[in-house]
Amino acid sequence: MVEELLIKNGVVYDPINGVKGEKKDICIRDGKIVEEVKNPKVIDAEGRVVMPGGVDIHAHIAGGKVNSGRLFRPEDGRKGIEPKTKVCRAQSGYSVPNTFATGYRYARMGYTFVMEPAMPPIAARHTHEELIDTPILDNAALPLIDNNWMTMEYVKSGDIDLLAAYIAWMIKATKGYGVKIVNPGGTEAWAWAKNCELNDAVPYFDVTPAEIVKSLAEANERFEMPHSIHVHGNMLGHPGNYVVTMKTFDLVKGTKPYRDRPVLHGTHTQFHSYGGTTWGDFESQAKAIAEYINSNEHASIDIGSVILGDTTTMTADGPMEYSLYQITGRKWTNHDVELETGTGITPFLYSGKVSVHTIQWAIGQELALLIKDPWKVALTTDHPNAGPFIGYPILISMLMNKRRRDESAEEMHSAIFDRAELPSIDREYDFYEIAIITRAMAAKTLGLAEHGKGHLGVGADGDVAIYDITPEERDDAGKIQKAFLNAKYTIKGGEIVVKDGEVVAAPQGKTFFVTPECDEKLMDEMMAKLKDTFEHYYSVSFANYPVQDAYVPNPYEIRAPWRS
């Protein structure tokens, strides 16, 4: 590895430090950004756009359901085949790439950090094993803690402190990063082939999804947690669900976050911004959601925007996946996870010829364009649910170029003109705003900025992306798409990993995890109940449950003390 690196003549976009397209030098020594260097290897960026390495706040890249998706879709595996090279292992897959391809492709797009957003706690080891095999990227994973029996029992009894002790234990035991919520209550109901709406009582546990969300937000804020609760709300994918989305966000309006960040991060909000009452009168309600986000400070979102084509849907929202399978009749895998959560997986094709898909395609972009403050928005496709991450450059070019959006709309179903807003929106993102929604916002919202991610200030990780485009070329949508797909250079921890769009080095990344700190007495009380649960109801023993150190060979620990 080169000790000192100097990137000169780059036009730098570093939103966290307020750098808006300034020509400035970036100096790296021993993997960190420094003020100056003495004898560096020099990269002349020649006026190109330079950004911090990309930070993806939500992409399903590692774990049981991702692998089930790979296993049952050899037809997806046959796409994107690349033979091994001196540096790279063999690659396969498109919507469910193998772990090596995942790392290489993200790195080629200039990304250096990805959050795996849904880790079933009992299978956390699996997520971590796949992350170990995902080259280059730093990473973290969010354990699912909302359909868990103990969560629901504490919510019912109103014991928020004990709930906090439980989530602390779960996050520690799984080497996880925070609290993930997916179809709260509904996935437990799905174990009986049922579902739950926001204010329905979960069978047997007799709490509502609304109560679960509110309690988990409060429990989360008992600690100095870097991230807010991360929420995939109820009724995903149903026409008219935008009302549920706003009601869900409203639940935690009064909860005070421990620091300057939202209380709730609503994920893949495209799927939750639906109007109409059936698929027949389905329409976009991105406008309503955007207005909500514009007039509130307690929630952030990532867009979960559609990429046209074939993909694989996979979520812990078991009932939703079942309804999707009933609509398409395609193959469907389900995996109910004892005491905790569930999974559903089914392939899906988004077609520009279908009215519903066309409106869905518009909604994701509408959210980004109608929300005024880009610091509240992250660019995602909920990979692979709305589309594979390899489609991000397409979205970037759409957000930056109205003409490209209009041209695309012409090729798609005419419903986009009367049941969506997109054609009437003129706004175009600039590189600075793109830098916010593809790295700075995520780093800030995840609490990773002070741990070196998402910016180029002194002390940050030497993670840099140099894209083969200059600011003057901002109107060339095609060039934008090409530039963001294969970076001119990607630097990770001061090491050049991508050059001219090719991977030249594949070091292993580090796994970030959070250690919430909790009063011992509280922990002991919770543990007594937890151990009892293991003894009687789990099918694995308590001692064998927590993730062992062997599964996190490159750890980065963030402590989250109890708030006094």
Partner: protein, 433 residues
Amino acid sequence: MVEITDVVCPLCGCVCDDIVVEVEDNRVTKVRGACAVGKSKLMGHGRIKSPAIRENGALKECSYDEAIKKAAEILAAARRPLLYGWSSTVCEATKVGVELAEEIGAVIDNTASVCHGPSVLAIQDVGLPSCTLGEVKNRASLIIYWGSNPTSAHGNHMKRYSYISKGYFLPGGKKDRKLVVVDVRETKTAKMADKFLRVEPGKDYLVFSALRAILYGNEDVVPDEVGGVSKNDLLEVASMMKETQFGIIFFGMGVTHSRGRHNNIVNAIQTTRAAHTHTKFNIMPMRGHYNVAGFNQVCTWETGFPFAVDLSLGYPWYNPGETSSTDLLIRRECDAALLIATDPGAHFPGESIRHLANIPVIQIDPFANPTTEFADVVIPTAISGVESEGSIYRMDNIPLRLRKLVDTEYMSDEAVMERILEEVRAIKAKEGE
């Protein structure tokens, strides 16, 4: 004497993880909580004492180094090598195996090829509505074992996870559940059933179709007898399926090994989906070995495909029926084989063994077995789960970690694989000069 609790059993797909073991003088002397087969594994047997290379028909003892170098020579020189087995070792070893397969352009395959491979093919056709074993324990009031005999093959399955277990919603255990067994003969498991359906060999497919028809409300198309099973019995079982709160079908080799192969499994899954239109219904393959699922997991996330992966072109090509071990051997295509944590000498059809016996074979295993009779290089290793730890996946894909209970002088599977890979790379580098 040391007592070790929460030991993870390294034998069958149940992966019981509450075993208690006593260790004295670096030997396992007592095992509590395991079934007869698991106990036998943990108590141990006579071992292969030393690495060996076959010379003039007889195995001659040698050092690890010599055996590893010889193995590397064989593999580096091979044009169509096969790396097979994996199901009784840990994921860490498998990962090196995949890397080696990529390096030498081998086919990498595991015992699923002769076990639940058809189930994988079926899943690739229609998907798999399933769950973890704890869901069965807590919720399943109807348990169906189809072509599966847990009393013989998965000793603690019913006690820990299904018919005899006590769960959150079924605290009465057996009293709260019903057991249905479908098999060609009345096994010990069948004798425990509330309802036993004796099906004629090769006719499971028909019986699934009949059940599906009934579940979809089309019982009028079902004749009085299907595959040896009476229509009345089918109607009775279908009713049980419709009326349960949560049902599960566990299926085994009875349906993967017999006429129809993966088509039986597709039909089994479709039957499950038909039941699911009435109530919650899941289905689960009874994986035989403690880490057969683990190999499929690693192979899938590393190559994109679960088994029978041909890496001869430097990228993965998957085509069971063409690239599965049995087919490669019957076509006499492979010219060298590395057999690890498996025993094809015992478990492959005779014709496959005939070819294996005629090509250079490297065996990596703690114990001598029929494969040792024709292996050209024998490398004994540590017993995973007793002498070395590692990552494994239970039959329901729950990841667990094997414990190390005693010390050993033997190299681990992972260490041997890494050395072989290292030597192969050295040979190729030299050839490149």
